[in-house]
Amino acid sequence: MSRLEIRNLQVSVNTDAGAVEILKGVDLTINSGETHAIMGPNGSGKSTLAYSIAGHPKYTIVGGSVTLDGADVLEMSVDERAKAGLFLAMQYPVEVPGVSVSNFLRTAATALRGEAPKLRTWVGEVKEAMEALNMDPAFASRNVNEGFSGGEKKRHEIMQLELLKPKIAILDETDSGLDVDALRIVSEGVNRAKDKNNLGVLLITHYTRILKYIKPDFVHVFANGHIVEEGGPDLADKLEANGYADYVSK
């Protein structure tokens, strides 16, 4: 059982014109096995929340806390957070020229498991993970995200999620840019990780269609840098029908 606790998190981003406050006190608790959906207008700070939890250097924590099973996440380096069990599937996965997917995955697995995976079982493990996401085995020898289509990048993120087995995963618009089949394939990957590893999920999305596949336990409305309403799955349907007008003016 793991628990990610975010308390009164305030975050600013450094710009040429000085620090701009983006997150204005976020409170959220995610337990193993739970799925929390976050929905909110563009620019409201959803990715900022995701990146801040993962430790992106662009953001400055102004106040509040993030803990994973009581350990201070904000004190950890980016790789330590991953080792502690956090995973971020990025809205815009980064291209790393000259580094092959297979080399990248093996280096990551070695770091997370504390020893290099046995070559014989590892090859099979990667093959299986790629097949599960309907990715051509040829991707293993391609450079990380280089020239991948938008949908391929997202599938690659979820493939890593299954392979690296985190405790808590943040999925930042993993459903954006996916065709109907890919959406189902990616959702099944997330659900497998939930079933097998009792994964806790923070799922950032603009659309209710992914929530038909990955059933949220909680839906949070995010606006202007914090959570403005919380509810069950039916809140998502209400948002789809009415938009965010009620919340943005608050």
Partner: protein, 360 residues
């Protein structure tokens, strides 16, 4: 034997061609102070297949040179180490050349020729190692339809000085591909130059340099499009780390008025891995005709990409390993072009080792 200094101009450092080079560190190669040790260091490291010969002989230079050190080499060395590959000879295995008899107290003035007969195909790997003060005039002649992949690896010891011109004369439909790797030596100054003498000729000049702890590496291309319908590509990548480390990349491409249908592109990328290093990058395209297929250049100098490091680290990879992956990845594009697994892996390990030593 010491050499006569009278007939040669001595660069002062104000000349365009010498403005970056630390003349004081050239061990007298440029001003006549270097003593000729009368050495011949170049040897073949593999047995030579049928159609390939390696001899010392007297040869006239292929092309003129306005480089002062090359003029001195020509004045001192009459004999040339000549690797020749006969017409129509297609070699399946690379030929390895290497060095013996290095020394730091005297200099070597060396002339080398590599020639391919018509339609010959070969890969030649020159591994430059050891302690040496070496000035070299290396000329390559490619007969019509021939194709050469020429890999030079500058892996000299830390006090060595190497100044050289690697000049290729490329005939009709011949293809010259060079991969110039510079990782060792105190001062390395190479002039990779190409002269096209008939249409259909092409050249690809690739390079990697990795300079650390005060090393000076200069690569000064010159591609002369003196005929119509020739194609050239230049792609050099460098990484620098440490105080007073300095690299220079000059990309001179000349498209003469007669050179219609020219297709050229040159690229230089530098990665600054620490403070205190300096990378000069000067692409220089001179175009005398508008009737061309394409001509372009790009040059970038930057630091580690935070987004790349963040992405790798968010998967549990340590900062140190993430940087190593990014640097390896940066060089990988060129190193894999060597196409010889053992050589590639050795170079990558050397790069890892240098990174570790530099504490990046």
């Amino acid at each position: 034997m010491s050499l006569a200094t009278t007939n040669y101009l001595t660069p002062t450092g104000r000349e365009e061609a010498w403005r970056f080079t630390p003349l004081k560190r050239l061990q007298g190669l440029h001003d006549g102070a270097a003593i000729d040790g009368q050495r011949t260091s170049l040897v073949t490291k593999s047995s030579l297949p049928v159609g390939v010969n390696f001899v010392r002989e007297s040869l006239q230079p292929l092309a003129s040179s306005d480089d002062v050190i090359i003029e001195r080499v020509r004045g001192l060395a009459e004999e040339v180490s000549h690797l020749s590959i006969a017409a129509n000879c297609e070699l399946s295995e690379p030929i390895f050349l290497g060095r013996v008899l290095g020394a730091l107290d005297t200099a070597e003035f060396s002339r080398v020729r590599i020639s391919l007969g018509a339609h010959a195909v070969a890969t030649v790997v020159l591994e430059n190692t050891g302690d040496t003060v070496l000035a070299e005039d290396l000329e390559i002649s490619l007969a019509p339809g021939s194709s050469l992949k020429f890999v030079t690896i500058q892996e000299f010891e830390s006090k060595s000085v190497y100044t050289a011109r690697h000049h290729a004369v490329v005939d009709k439909d011949a293809h010259f591909k060079s991969i110039t790797i510079t990782v060792g030596g105190d001062v390395v100054r190479i002039l990779p130059t190409v002269e096209f003498i008939a249409p259909g000729a092409s050249a690809e000049l690739l390079g990697v340099y990795f300079a650390t702890s005060g090393q000076f590496f200069e690569h000064r291309m010159h591609v002369d499009h003196a005929v119509p319908h020739a194609k050239s590509r230049v792609n050099y990548k460098g990484a620098l780390v440490g105080r007073d480390t300095h690299t220079v990349w000059i990309g001179d491409v000349l498209i003469r008025a007669i050179a219609e249908g020219t297709d050229t592109y040159e690229l230089n990328r530098n990665l600054l891995l620490s403070d205190g290093s300096r990378a000069d990058s000067v692409p220089n395209l001179e175009i005398e005709t508008g009737e061309i297929v394409g001509a372009g250049h790009a040059s970038t100098t930057g630091r580690f990409d935070d987004e790349q490091l963040f992405y790798l680290m968010s998967r549990g990879i340590s900062m140190e390993n993430a940087r190593r992956l990014v640097v390896r990845g940066f060089f990988n594009e060129i190193i894999t072009e060597i196409g010889i697994e053992g050589v590639q892996e050795r170079l990558m390990q050397r790069i890892d080792g240098e990174l570790e030593k530099a504490g990046v």
